[in-house]
């Protein structure tokens, strides 16, 4: 069970800020593929991975990173703070 979070327009496309996902996905990309297979709104949100960033347990990471032991995955567009 992984906590999956969405921010900014990713959140808007998915339609919710977070959800608990039952998954055996080995990597972030595997998780993305599982989600995209579910419903069109996931396909819309994950259409272009180069426009997205991912954080694992609140640390910026990569889409090919393993999910082993990870409790929280967050997807969002490039940050615009400051």
């Amino acid at each position: 069970m992984i906590d999956v979070m969405y921010f900014a327009w990713v959140r808007e496309r998915i339609g919710e800020p977070r959800e608990a996902v039952e998954t055996q996905a080995a990597t972030v990309v595997d998780l993305v593929e599982e989600l995209k297979a579910r419903e069109p709104r996931y396909e819309a949100a994950f259409a272009d991975l180069s426009a997205l960033r991912v954080a694992l347990d609140q640390e910026l990471s990569d889409f090919d990173a393993p999910l082993d032991g990870v409790r929280e995955v967050a997807f969002f567009p490039p940050m615009t703070g400051g």
Binding site: A55, Q58, P78, M79, T80, G81, G82
Partner: protein, 145 residues
Amino acid sequence: MDIRVQTEPFSVGDVLDGFGKGSHDIGAVVSFTGIVRDTGGLTRMVIEHYPGMTERAINEIASEAMERWSLADCLVIHRHGTLVPGDQIMMVATASRHRAAAFEAAEFLMDYLKSRAPFWKKEFGPDGAEWVAAKDEDEDALSRW
């Protein structure tokens, strides 16, 4: 080191008047304040962030600045929620022995906060709402550090 993520406004004055007090080896204090501009008829801006990761990311950036420039002190305040033109979005302040370190550390903090702290801005104007896109130049700015 003082890091605040908040919805409330802040007074640069009150913050700076207390900043670095108590340390005896400060010769230079630099502050930066970011303000919402009313470009293109902007009526308001909503800043979303990632509670938990935000504090963690800013802490990491500020700790790196403290060490790299041997700062005497360092402060970051970043607001989230709804802001209107003229509102202060955020500020950083650095205190060090010499001016070059204080300036460089403040610019470093700003460059990293721009693209490495999990904030996202949505602008509301006459043509509707739009998420602010990250700029290539902001990402490029990191390469100088």
